[in-house]
């Protein structure tokens, strides 16, 4: 179509050759073009985290990323988490600790946790990390700070933190 741009995306291990309106966000591309509706739109302005996916292994608010900017990149969404070792553990821990109610923020929370645990493993500090010289313990305060970009209006935060702790403890 007029003004559309060819884009190659690898989503959950599957290659897609797309022709996209440059205004299309990664979020709308996943949901409306690829039918991957597990990723949710909560605010469309990067304020709620419901649309969190992994882009090139990093967590992003997919509503803030133009899909054409992701050309040639790998995207992992909630739909692939069951086959992702860490993702499956987080999913299981969510059930045990009741880390959700309505479920609308859940996909974003889980994707965010998977990336956050990786960031922590890589030794990246957060805004509440006091000692920047040694390994950082994943305390409740660290988890809460690192997950502060994922809102849950139902208020399942306690369960989510418990789920993260269980997974982090192995």
């Amino acid at each position: 179509m007029d003004g559309h741009i060819p884009v190659h995306l690898n989503v959950n291990g599957q290659a897609h050759a797309l022709s996209l309106d440059p205004r299309t966000t990664l979020l709308d591309c996943l949901r409306e073009r690829l039918g991957l509706t597990g990723t949710k739109k909560g605010c469309d302005q990067g304020a709620c985290g419901a649309c969190t996916v992994l882009l090139g292994g990093e967590r992003v608010n997919s509503c803030l990323v133009p899909a054409v900017q992701c050309d040639g990149m790998e995207v992992v969404t909630i739909e692939a988490m069951a086959g992702h070792g860490l993702g499956a553990k987080v999913q299981e821990a969510f059930l045990t600790h009741d880390g959700f109610q309505c479920g609308y923020c859940t996909s974003g929370q889980i994707c965010s946790i998977v990336a956050m645990l990786g960031e922590h493993r890589d030794g990246r500090p957060s805004a509440v990390t006091e000692d920047l010289t040694g390994p950082v313990a994943l305390t409740d305060a660290e988890i809460r700070e690192r997950m502060a970009g994922n809102l849950c209006r139902c208020g399942a935060y306690n369960g989510i933190v418990a789920a993260v702790k269980e997974v982090a403890a192995g």
């Binding site: 991957l36 304020a47 709620c48 609308y104 700070e145 809102l151 209006r153």
Partner: protein, 767 residues
Amino acid sequence: MSLTSRGFGLGTRILGRVARLLPDGRHDPLSTEPGEVGRHVNRLDGPAKVSGGIRYTADHSPARLAYAVPVPSAVAKGRVTAVDSSRALAAPGVVLVMTHENAPRMRRTAAYATLKGPVAAAAMSLPILSTDEVFWHGQPVAVVVAETQEQAEHAARLVDVRYEAEPAVLAMSDEAAYTPAHSVLEESRTVVGDARAGLAGAVATVRAVYTTPAEYHNALEPHATLARWDGDDLTVHDTAQYPYGVKEMLAKKFGLPLERVHVLAPYIGGGFGGKTPAWPHVALTVAAAKMAGRPVKLVLSRADTFRMTGGRAPTRSSVALGADGQGRLTAIVHDALATCTRDEFAEAAIAASRHLYACPGIAAHQRVVRVDRIQNAFFRGPGVTPGSFALESAMDELAWELGLDPLELRLRNEPERDPISGRPFTSRHLREAYQLGAETFGWRDRAPVPRATRDGHWLVGQGMAAAINPDVLLVAAVRLRLSADGTITIHSSTNELGAGTSTAQTQAAAQRLGVPMDRIRFMQGDSDVARTRIPGASAATTTLASAIWNARDRLVRELLALDTPLAGLRSSEVETRDEGLFTRDGRGETYRRLLERAGRDHIEVTGRSAVPYQTLKRTTGTYGAHFAEVRVDADTGEVRVTRWTGAFDGGRIVSPKQAAGQMRGGIIQGIGMALMEETLLDERSGRIVNAGLAEYHVPTHADVPDIEVRFVDLPDPQTPLGAKGIGELGIVGVAAAIANAIYHATGERIRDLPITPDKLLLREPSL
């Protein structure tokens, strides 16, 4: 006081008298029986939710789908004088632009919340896109439909709307205040005894004004509607908390027979009351689909959820309390003011003051002011949540005046009967909740004076408050199908908002029918199952349990009528247990065997909720106590909530794991209300300034401590399952508990929500 409000008050009193003569309904044996009810189980929809497998409204994309985007008005009141759609229509992909000039006919429907007309779900009676009138800033004045969301969003900005603006009333002022006919079924004005004399003779008094701002639900799922016409059949996927009411509303608006309209809303991404009424976009999507001749999906942007759906009305409460030397209340005076719109939805900010404490002199008066804003809406604990901030802050102030522990003050004023009507309670275990909460929290260790605990730059304090919410049983029916393999499917027109309704009902139904939980499937969200009026009001658990109880009885009768060895037995002679019907002496058959013997593939029955005589003739409510610890930064005025215990009387708790989550959710929304949530309105233009989650702040992970939830867990003898509805209770009293803790930490009393750092810093430079 208006004639209608007098009439409502009189009517209520007469009904109260008559209700005493009502028979008592059946006592539910399940309320005390051990079994699935009360067991900790994981959510049944959990595996689908954690894998992104649930289809919410906006996740549906049928073939030939077009996308709609509404255009908000730029004035608060007036008329649309011209709409120039030419540029929008010329933009790529645009299918149509719907305005008041070309929209299909939509009949007026009465507003649900006023209870003045039929109880369909319409949020308002105003004719949106049916006339040129503008009633609030942000009202939809056009709808653009295009092939893609991007094209629709772009074209919506190209619609040129001209207005003739009129002066709008936007501020909540005393001048035009009046007494509404009723305040969501509470009397707007109540006088018991002589409160003035009670104040005059009091040893200690408190007189203060408390305010709460307009607040928004901000469920993470924005409101969405997907409409599809197949001839005269209309199918609508909607984020409705009240699918049957939306069905009724759309049938009326579009002049369709009820059976032609199908509303589907099985899973909702959070509601909190904001999706109880159908806001104008629901009918507009249906109208746009009719015009387009193809399916249309409209998902409100986050900003549009502020403009085009309503939130909690702002309130101002003047409270005066008096007490004698023993700490017994002699007077409660609560004058509350709130906003409403042309549709008079008046929230009862006075509710807690009418039912919480024993007092010989109570004067409660709710007034409203009509404003030209988006209509206010139900929001978790409507009225009682903002009103309890006033009452429960004032009680704390009174305790300090008296030199009494605020918990002790409350214990001394716990009533034996409803303070207004004098009717008995179905059950009330607030005393137990106070004690349970206080012990768990360690309330006894609290410093006896304010500003006594300092930890570095943090001032530490503890506060408490009571919670109360009216409990109601509403109307529901379910269709229950027993299949040849012995499995049971229960169909309901309710939905799953995240409250855990489907899991709790599966637990209760399993016990009711004597089968394991995995033999039951609970199917929800189809408006066509049966007339079901559970728009909210924390009523799903008990009302559905009543309907399923009735379905069980009908099923038993049907089974006993079959040609089996049990034929001829009376219903009272058999029990539903061990996956079948058995007499007390052990004679019986499994359901599967019964159907097999009778050669039946299945049996289907409809169960209807009983008229709740027991609760109609008594006062029924849920109760609780919050205990909070805060730390206030002495340099910046930042408040952190660091510890919390909530203890609640919600009757018997059906599904404790999820119930605890629901209480935490209410408490967390209350933390938001106390410390950050506020809708900022430009009172010159009517524009909401902070219409987004980046500016309207809700609690994040980092704002929430571990929250301990305890339940008294004593069955109510008068309700199905012995349960009471707890969905709203958790938020009530939270803001006051925090304000009271802040006072204890700092010695500063903040009476205006939210308690942001500026308010603390401005009050005391040395803080």
